[in-house]
């Protein structure tokens, strides 16, 4: 019974998930701390400002897609294999749009906040960085999420239990790498 768990029971049950998120956080933290990323942070003002919002957004967008697909599988609304039908297509297109809309908004927002704090920031540069990072994130996250959910479901895994750790781990690691790629693209274009 959940209501009668002792502190040690709760600790034991929660520890694996917390440790997975620790390892994922250390991965993305290590990437953040690399020489290349530190140079990127230094060369593009506003990157640290938008970092928490960028990471949180991808959790929101793809976590909710995962939850939707998982509920859809349980309800029998979609089949556990990739099939280009209306329902699945709408869910994927919508999460792609969500990711792009919010990323553009974050670029403009962090530019605005920089202005208010009278720090330098280049709107075009931030837009390029975030659009590149959001596009790459969309491809990577959609690919990983669909594979894990469909393959997992066919093998008897409840997707509800795997989406959280998958989105966190893959999202944080890819997120930082894609920001870095966005920074180099902006450097080449501008």
């Amino acid at each position: 019974m959940l209501g009668q768990d002792s502190a040690i029971d709760v600790y034991r049950q929660a520890l694996p998930v917390i440790l997975v998120s620790l390892v994922a956080g250390l991965f993305s933290g290590t990437l953040l701390g690399t020489e290349a990323m530190r140079e990127g942070i230094e060369s593009v003002p506003g990157i640290l400002l938008l970092l928490p919002a960028f990471l949180a957004t991808r959790g929101g967008v793809y976590g909710s897609l995962g939850a939707r697909l998982s509920s859809g599988l349980h309800q029998g609304l979609i089949d556990p294999h990739f099939e280009w039908n209306d329902r699945l297509r709408n869910a994927i297109v919508a999460s792609f749009l969500n990711g792009m809309i919010v990323s553009v908004f974050i670029a403009v927002l962090s530019w605005g906040v920089s202005l208010v704090l009278s720090r330098e920031a280049n709107l075009l540069e931030l837009l390029i960085v975030l659009i590149v990072a959001a596009l790459l994130s969309a491809f990577a996250m959609l690919g990983v999420l669909l594979t894990v959910i469909f393959k997992g479901y066919r093998r008897g895994l409840d997707p509800d239990n795997v989406i959280g750790p998958v989105v966190t781990t893959v999202g944080d690691v890819f997120g930082v790498v894609f920001l870095l790629i966005g920074i180099s693209v902006a450097g080449v274009v501008l």
């Binding site: 929660a14 440790l19 998120s21 953040l32 942070i41 938008l50 908004f105």
Partner: protein, 200 residues
């Protein structure tokens, strides 16, 4: 990051109304929430930005940031999910002598202690490799002090918000997890850099 579960939660409640998955339906439900969330996250962004010099000088501190954000939200969602389930089961009583509350608090503190001690060692090791100069002692003080403050803060925020939600007549399952995970994510960064300012 903890926000993943929140979006799904909100989405599922919308789904009870309609099982049609339309692009405009999904976008119009989720985008306003994500925009609001991004505005909130600018608070932690501003803190990070104002510590840019220290973060670039000490890569170990950059290593700490994603873990701090993630763990804060995770602990908050565990605490809230348990409290609201216990509320629904009728076993919850808002009193420090209540055994359920004690078990939750004990578990959150134990989890925080485990994660933040490990984090101190890991950030030190990784920082070494990345060319940082912060000592193991300093990093352990930073991670343990901020981790324990965070655990206490998570317990307080979760308990108060489940209680308020219940008093105001909202199901805490729907309201508290999105609010608490985001509040904890943001205050996690504030606590970390508060401690960094004192220690360094």
């Amino acid at each position: 990051m903890s926000a993943g579960g929140d979006g799904g939660r909100r989405d599922e409640s919308a789904e009870e109304i309609s099982e049609e998955w339309t692009v405009s339906g999904i976008v119009s439900t989720l985008v306003p929430l994500l925009l609001a969330l991004s505005i909130l996250q600018m608070v932690s962004g501003t803190v990070l930005e104002s510590f840019e010099e220290q973060l670039l000088a000490y890569p170990s501190l950059l290593v700490l940031v994603p873990v701090m954000i993630g763990t804060a939200g995770n602990l908050g969602s565990i605490m809230c999910a348990r409290l609201s389930t216990q509320l629904h089961l009728g076993t919850l009583e808002f009193s420090p002598t209540n055994t359920d509350i004690r078990a939750n608090v004990g578990a959150v503190i134990g989890l925080a202690a485990t994660v933040f001690v490990l984090l101190g060692f890991a950030a030190w090791g990784i920082g070494r490799v990345l060319g940082g100069s912060l000592g193991l002692g300093t990093l352990l003080v930073i991670t343990i002090v901020s981790g324990m403050l965070l655990a206490i803060w998570v317990v307080l925020v979760s308990t108060v918000s489940v209680y308020l939600s219940y008093r105001l007549g909202y199901d805490p399952d729907d309201t508290t997890i999105p609010v608490v995970t985001n509040v904890c994510d943001i205050t996690g960064v504030l606590i970390l850099f508060g401690v960094v300012t004192v220690v360094l």
